[in-house]
């Protein structure tokens, strides 16, 4: 007994057959729960207590207790050094990293699109990619001396490869149906790139950018230990050399960690935009 018919009928208004699916809903509605804050804070507190107890038990007078580190940070703030060093480090990262994005994204998109170009450049990329930026430090000093240019170059080098590679992969993995739909609408090559290829690749490119930023921040500290006389890396090495001020060493480390966390949170923010969120469906 078939009671369904395909009558359009006046009464059957073309109501869509489903409500918005809750696809991304749980993530966006990020339910606030006390556990979300209580748990990490408990772990951090425990860590600080163990650290404190460890230093006290060992009787070390060189390695600082947490409270010494806090005093160290306060001291750095009062002397105006902390802000100065943080700004110096951030400036280098921003410069080198921006450069890497400006070069890596277009380069990667082009290599992903033109298979000939990919064939030509890929082996070279794969050779350069595994060389640690640290290994470039002597070369950077040779070329740029003890100036801002050396760490900026290192940061560029460290971040340009992850960005390029993720952009290449993004184009190559793009759903063919988007391209076919776009071609159907008669888009010119330039329109196709701007209106389809770029937005289709953006989520994966953004993931590459986030990874690259992490690497860049790692590298700036290493570069500043050697090639310059300001920045958080310099602070650490200087505090150790100038008077075994391990409280300041650890204070520098703490700042590096906190700023790294902040940078990552910022980029993760970008991933929440509607233009790219579809690309992270399963997170």
């Amino acid at each position: 007994m078939n009671t369904l018919s395909n009558q359009p009928g006046p009464a059957s208004s073309p109501s869509p057959e489903a409500e918005r699916e809750p696809a991304g809903a749980p993530a966006s509605r990020a339910s606030w729960s006390p556990a979300k804050f209580v748990l990490p804070f408990s772990v951090a507190t425990l860590f600080l207590l163990l650290w404190d107890a460890g230093v006290r038990l060992s009787g070390s007078d060189l390695f600082p207790k947490p409270i010494d580190v806090v005093r160290g940070i306060v001291e750095l703030i009062q002397e105006g050094l902390l802000l100065k060093y943080v700004v110096a480090s951030l400036f280098r990262v921003t410069s080198g990293f921006t450069l890497a994005v400006l070069v890596g994204v277009p380069f990667g998109l082009v290599l992903g699109w033109y298979s000939r170009a990919f064939q030509a450049f890929n082996p070279m990329i794969q050779i350069f990619r595994p060389i640690s930026p640290i290994a470039w430090i002597p070369v950077a000093i040779l070329w740029f001396g003890v100036s801002d240019a050396a760490p900026i170059f290192l940061i560029f080098l460290a971040s340009v490869f992850p960005i390029t590679v993720s952009a290449i992969a993004a184009v190559q993995n793009m759903q063919p149906v988007y391209l076919r739909a776009a071609r159907n609408f008669g888009l010119s090559r330039a329109q196709l790139f701007r209106r389809v290829v770029f937005p289709a690749c953006l989520p994966q490119v953004l993931t590459g950018i986030r990874i690259a930023l992490g690497v860049a921040w790692l590298v700036v500290v290493a570069a500043e230990m050697i090639a310059v006389n300001s920045g958080l890396g310099y602070l650490i090495i200087d505090a150790r050399n100038a008077g075994k001020r391990y409280d300041l060493v650890v204070a520098g480390m703490v700042m590096i960690g906190l700023i790294g966390l902040a940078l990552d949170l910022c980029v993760r923010r970008l991933e929440k935009f509607d233009e790219v969120r579809w690309g992270y469906a399963n997170r």
């Binding site: 007994m1 078939n2 009671t3 369904l4 018919s5 395909n6 009558q7 359009p8 009928g9 009464a11 059957s12 208004s13 073309p14 109501s15 869509p16 057959e17 489903a18 409500e19 918005r20 699916e21 696809a23 991304g24 759903q175 149906v177 988007y178 076919r180 739909a181 071609r183 159907n184 609408f185 008669g186 209106r195 389809v196 937005p199 289709a200 953006l202 509607d274 233009e275 790219v276 969120r277 579809w278 690309g279 469906a281």
Partner: protein
């Protein structure tokens, strides 16, 4: 439009296509000598077996692929590349996920002024029914809504032709039906030429002016079938069914499958080439049909087509078939429709699990991921107390599983049928049995059936009628007596946005008792978003109202405050269905060479989701009786007396229980809200009710009802409903 009068919209001439094969020099020939024409404004469907190359053909016509040889002329010009004057709608959905619905629909309109673009977007948004979703992103939409957006995007570009490549292939059955209806409506308004690829024959007949049937690979257009049916199309009309069957026949599958390799085909519509080819296919999904023309196991007596013929492939028929197949009894399972088909009755009880285990069907159920049903909740309109039955509290059946399932019956019935086919049942879909034939000695000898518009006879030793409420044999032999105690009537639909209440009981069945006598509402979760809701009431109640079905539904929902709140945001998915649940019973359940199974024997208003369970249990018992009778080679009525007794007793107990329930709903609600009462109702609620001695609670309920009715001061007295028995 200038081109319309002069030449066909699409013309394909002597087209060949091959792809490079695994080894060089051995290309795979996909299309061979394809010729076709589509007239301006025509709706043409291309159907063919999966993998035959119909999508390849559409891609060539659309300009996405270059043919190896031959020409495609569209609107008078040879096709070289895709063109915005003909838009493609893709199966995998080409809506851009980074744009919202509005931006997607306007994608091809950048050359237009913003005002004009806005107007067009709004127009087509409304036409496809996405109003209110302008700013939604594709990830927030269901599959059907994404396809609607893509169709709107295609229409907004104002193409001459729309190519559709299985656009509804990934959608569920009900959504597909709805999408087809809406596409027909849109096509009638917009008058575009449509070339539509599908592997679904029903879809083609519902949509097309003409259906082009493609052969197996290397594919060519094998047959062209006109569909001169008026729109809207009635899926029950003889014209519809005949056209559909012609296409089946043309595809060579002709509702036949399987083991018979004999092309000695008695169907004149079926071209030989197509028939023999289609049998050699290795489709991923095993088709549920099966051949009758040459049964491989030769039946014992001379010209028999099978030992047993089962009429109707619902749960009773398919279960019986599975049991018989496992016993090695040669049988045919006939059904007049082609599965999946819609059916009401969506919740199961625990006792079905044993039968699933018997026939190895339980893994299939688990894999199908139906919503698990862990219990039932009753609420009375006058209070908001939830009386909960949890199956884990009542493990007496000895089952490992403390849940059963809520099912989409279209899918469940199809899975069960496919399972029977896998077990070895020979299935014939689209075969309408006209009557059962009897010999001069009064013994059933076979059936007459109509298939592809032709009558034929099949002979067998035993006919099992599982035709459900069609009651084929019962009507033919005039055995049917209506059960005047239950003239119930049901109105139901699927909804979205139903609040299923607290999480613990969200996937239980919810039963709401309404203020009217014998009126109640079911709420059954079908999947995470869809809920089946149905009102059951006395037939007279519905007739009395004489109001539109939507109003009737709304009025009854409003009479139960808790239910009304839960339904506050609910939206119906399709048209309301209504049916008379008029209970009946047959004078006899079995005779010489025949027996009745499931609803074909007896039907009682299924308050407690007992329908499928009763049907399957009767099939199990029927299978036992049939196996025994065939072994003794005695198929006279007496051989089935035990079967009839057991099934009749079971349904009688159900009937009495349902009657008591209706007589005094507060009594039942009181019983289940107390642990000892719940324990006593155990077997009933699990569906295991074939032995009267095991349900003493029935007597107690009767005694209480008598006491309440004798005591006018009893608080429950006003709740008594009129009938007594």
């Amino acid at each position: 439009m200038n081109s319309r009068s002069n030449h066909p919209a699409i013309s394909v001439r002597d087209l060949w296509m091959s792809f490079p094969g695994q080894r060089a020099g051995q290309p795979i020939l996909v299309l061979e000598r394809v010729n076709l024409e589509v007239k301006p404004g025509e709706f043409v469907c291309l159907v063919g077996p999966s993998g035959c190359g119909k999508s390849t053909l559409l891609n060539i016509v659309g300009g996405f692929l270059r043919p190896t040889r031959g020409d495609v002329i569209v609107e008078g010009e040879p096709v070289r590349h895709p063109d915005p004057r003909r838009i493609f709608v893709f199966q995998e959905n080409g809506v851009f996920p980074w744009l919202n619905v509005e931006e997607n629909i306007g994608f091809g309109l950048l050359a237009k002024s913003p005002a004009e673009r806005h107007r067009l977007v709004a127009h087509y948004l409304a036409m496809v029914g996405l109003g209110g979703f302008e700013r939604a992103y594709p990830r927030e939409l269901s599959g059907g809504m994404r396809q609607r957006a893509e169709i709107a995007r295609a229409l907004a570009a104002n193409p001459e032709i729309i190519y559709m490549d299985e656009p509804f292939g990934a959608l569920d059955f009900i959504t597909r039906l709805k999408m087809r209806a809406d596409l027909t409506r849109i096509w009638q308004t917009e008058k575009k030429t449509v070339l539509f690829v599908t592997h679904d024959i029903e879809e083609a007949v519902q949509l097309a002016d003409r259906v082009l049937v493609m052969s197996q690979r290397p594919a060519t257009i094998q047959t062209v079938i006109n569909v001169p049916l008026p729109r809207p199309r009635d899926l029950d009309s003889p014209g519809y069914l005949a056209t559909r069957d012609r296409i089946f026949a043309a595809m060579g599958m002709s509702l036949r499958i399987g083991e018979s390799a004999d092309p000695g085909d008695d169907n004149p519509n079926s071209p030989r080439g197509g028939a023999s080819r289609s049998r050699s296919t290795s489709e991923a999904k095993p088709p549920p049909q099966s051949s009758v023309s040459a049964p491989d196991a030769s039946p014992p007596a001379g010209k028999l087509d099978a030992q047993v013929i089962i009429i109707g492939a619902g749960p009773a028929g398919s279960t019986l078939a599975a049991y018989l197949a496992r016993a090695g009894i040669h049988h045919l399972l006939l059904d007049q429709s082609v599965h999946p088909r819609p059916h009401v009755g969506e919740s199961l009880v625990c006792s079905t699990t044993r039968i699933f285990q018997d026939i190895d069907f339980l893994p299939v159920m688990e894999q199908a991921q139906f919503v698990r049903k862990y219990g039932a909740v009753w609420t009375h309109w006058a209070d908001e107390q939830q009386r909960v039955i949890r199956f884990r509290e009542i493990p007496e059946l000895g089952l490992a599983q403390d849940y059963t399932y809520h099912v989409d019956r279209g899918r469940f019935d199809q899975l069960l049928l496919q399972h029977a086919a896998r077990q070895g049942s020979q299935v014939l879909e689209g075969a309408r049995v006209e009557r059962v034939e009897f010999g001069s000695d009064g013994l059933a000898t076979g059936v007459r059936l109509r298939q592809h518009g032709q009558e034929r006879a099949l002979r067998c030793q035993l006919v099992a009628d599982a035709s459900g409420r069609g009651t084929l044999l019962g009507s033919q032999l005039r055995l049917k007596r209506n059960d005047s105690l239950f003239h119930q009537f049901a109105v139901h639909n699927w909804f979205e946005g139903v609040d299923r209440g607290p999480a613990e009981t969200a996937d239980y069945i919810h039963i709401h008792v309404l203020p009217l006598p014998r009126a109640w509402v079911w709420l059954i979760p079908i999947d995470p978003t869809i809920t089946s809701v149905g009102i059951v009431t006395e037939g007279a109640d519905f007739a009395r109202g004489n109001m539109p079905v939507e109003d009737f539904f709304a009025r009854h929902v409003a009479s139960h405050p808790l239910l009304a709140r839960r339904m506050a945001r609910a939206r119906p998915i399709h048209e309301f269905s209504r049916e008379g649940n008029y209970s009946y019973v047959m004078d006899r359940f079995a005779g010489n060479g025949w027996l009745l199974v499931g609803d074909a024997a007896r039907f009682v208003d299924p308050v407690f989701s007992s329908g499928v369970s009763v049907a399957m249990e009767s099939a199990r018992r029927a299978a036992e009786a049939i196996i025994r009778a065939l072994a003794r080679n005695d198929l006279a009525a007496a051989a089935f007396a035990g079967y009839e007794r057991a099934v009749r007793a079971g349904v009688d107990i159900w009937r009495e229980f349902i009657l008591r329930y209706y007589q005094l709903p507060p009594l039942f609600l009181d019983l289940i809200s107390r642990p000892d009462g719940r324990r006593q109702l155990t077997q009933l609620l699990q569906g295991d009710v074939y032995d009267r001695a095991s349900v003493p609670i029935l007597e107690q309920m009767g005694a209480t009802i008598r006491a309440v009715s004798d005591d006018p001061n009893h608080p429950w007295h006003p709740h008594l409903s009129g009938h007594d028995h």
